[in-house]
């Protein structure tokens, strides 16, 4: 029944049924999300906030309704703490620029981990360079887990910001973010969590985590592209200067002086991505309607099944074997380039991602160019994993002959 909600899953690729295993890159969208966007455009498309006519009212209510829904979903203490961005990358850039300027001075440090996505590396490199601050990297072990003692050693009073991924997109590793945050707070650092991969798979409770900032993307959780959220504690958002200037984010503008608007609008300049924010609401409804426990159990079972099936393949080595991980299976096969594997799988209808997955430094750590990554979601099945395993066996057979 789940698959019926996703029309794309019944299409064929090269005459074979599509097997979509690229969910960490972006998930597919259920009909309810696609319909919500069409409905918005057909029924009440209008620019929001300052408009007083009925369409603008309706659009504003729906847009702000998503904000309240996100607040509930991540258990923020107020919807003013929910900033709409254009994606995780945009949210981290906002944070790096704004919190970075507010807190970083020469010699200060920003601490990330060795498994970060480029989107949680480059913005910090850029602001560190601007402010004369230093980027530090907490190392990982071969299983792809943060070496916690090393993290603690790096946590000095010089560290002003810690920015760590909740769930690694290349490895599936779930980081112990609650502890990471508490320890960082103990030295007075602010903590941003990159939740791009977590938001769809784990329940996120920002108050329980006690993070200062939390960034994630709609498109990785069954929602539309072009929308993300940056959650921030009110006190932290209050000390952050605005990032983008423009309409909506101001209270009053004169050429001499501009006063900025209250939260959350201070950080939302210009016409936002109204239609997709509204569509995002339906994606959260969709997730909320599923039973969280059975989803997590199902994904865990899929992961275990996939690992056991793929372990049978000659020369296959898993990259990322953390004890605590989500349903991401990254691997390499001796003497076969990931790209060749990806191309051949695709020719047979199986969509995986190959390459460095925007985590080049992590690949450098493993001394590999890239991996093949099958990232599984709720609509994937064991039968699909069987197809993957069979096709991999055929590929290996050709290569080994």
């Amino acid at each position: 029944m789940i698959r019926e909600q996703f029309r794309i899953l019944s299409r064929e690729i090269n005459g074979r049924p599509l097997v979509y295993f690229d969910n960490a890159a972006t998930t597919q969208k259920p009909d309810v999300v696609i319909n919500a966007i069409s409905e918005y455009y057909q029924d009440y498309n209008a620019n929001i906030h300052r408009g007083i006519h009925t369409l603008a009212e309706k659009a504003t209510e729906a847009y702000e309704g998503t904000r309240r829904k996100v607040k509930e979903y991540i258990n923020a203490s107020s919807s003013d703490e929910v900033i709409f961005t254009y994606g995780t990358t945009d949210g981290i850039n906002l944070a790096a620029n704004s919190l970075g300027r507010a807190t970083l001075n020469k010699g200060d440090e920003v601490l990330i981990s060795a498994m970060e996505h480029h989107s949680n590396i480059v913005p910090w490199q850029m602001i560190c360079e601007e402010r004369g601050a230093i980027l530090r990297v907490a190392p990982i072990n071969d299983a792809g887990e943060l070496i916690y003692e090393e993290y603690l050693k790096l946590l000095s009073e010089k560290v002003k910001i810690v920015s760590i991924v909740h769930v690694s997109n290349s490895l599936g590793t779930i980081n112990p973010v609650k502890k990471i945050i508490a320890d960082a707070h103990a030295v007075g650092a602010y903590v941003l969590i990159d939740g791009a991969q977590a938001a769809a798979h784990l329940g996120v409770d920002v108050q329980d985590l006690d993070c200062d900032l939390y960034a994630f993307s709609s498109h990785k959780m069954f929602g539309p592209t072009g929308v993300g959220v940056l959650y921030g504690k009110r006190a932290v958002l209050d000390l952050m200067p605005p990032y983008r200037g423009g309409g909506e984010m101001i209270k009053e503008v004169t050429f001499e002086k501009t006063t900025y608007n209250d939260l959350p609008f201070k950080f939302e300049a210009g016409t936002p991505n109204i239609a997709d924010v509204i569509g995002f609401s339906s994606a959260i409804d969709y997730i909320n309607a599923l039973d969280k426990n059975s989803v997590q159990e199902y994904e865990k079972k899929l992961l275990e099944y996939g690992v056991s099936k793929l372990a049978e393949i000659d020369g296959l080595k898993f990259i990322g074997t953390a004890k605590d991980k989500i349903s991401v299976i990254s691997f390499i096969i001796e003497d076969v380039h990931p790209f060749d594997i990806g191309m051949m799988l695709d020719a047979g209808g199986v969509a995986v991602r190959t390459g460095h997955h925007c985590t080049q430094p992590l690949m450098d750590y493993y001394n590999i160019e890239g991996t093949v990554r099958a990232s599984l979601s709720i609509y994937n099945t064991e039968a699909e994993i069987d197809i993957l395993a069979e096709k991999l066996k055929a590929i290996v057979k050709i290569k080994r002959k």
């Binding site: 090269n14 005459g15 074979r16 076969v336 380039h337 990931p338 790209f339 060749d340 191309m343 051949m344 020719a347 047979g348 190959t354 390459g355 160019e369 890239g370 050709i398 290569k399």
Partner: protein, 147 residues
């Protein structure tokens, strides 16, 4: 040195691919097999000045002049790219400079390569062809200035 003309070889390749039919999976497997059979390039040629960088695959391309003819050697880190290169070598290596420069490589479209490897790899293939032509033109200019 090739005794066949460029177009004769192209037609041969078209016939071979026709046997595979419309099935993309078999076609890609075949290209990969071609690739794994390509003789690896000696290490001394695998240098940065011979490197063409694509999205995920690297290509080393070396072109030498032997008796007025262009001799191509190449390698890649991925078999599929090697398979594509091996087709180019089969068609163009050992041909006269003028024939290389003026060749109409219709086999690429005829075997539906764009559809098989996608537009990003098609762009990569196009840059390889461009690079080969540039080598040929460079050698020709050199020969002319010597004569």
């Amino acid at each position: 040195m090739s005794d066949q003309s460029i177009n004769e070889i192209q037609d041969e390749i078209i016939d071979e691919f026709a046997i595979l039919g419309d099935d993309k999976e078999s076609t890609v497997f075949y290209i990969m097999e071609l690739g794994s059979n390509l003789e690896p390039l000696e290490d001394r040629y695998r240098i940065d000045s011979n490197l063409i960088k694509g999205c995920q695959s690297k290509v080393w391309l070396e072109a030498e002049l032997e008796d007025d003819r262009l001799v191509l050697k190449a390698d890649s880190n991925t078999d599929i790219t090697k398979g594509l290169i091996s087709l180019l070598i089969r068609v163009l290596s050992g041909q006269s400079l003028d024939n290389v420069i003026n060749a109409d490589l219709y086999f690429i479209e005829k075997i539906g390569m764009h559809n098989v490897i996608g537009s990003q790899r098609s762009n990569g293939l196009a840059s390889m062809i461009k690079q080969i032509r540039l080598y040929a033109i460079a050698y020709k200019t050199k020969l002319q200035s010597q004569s």
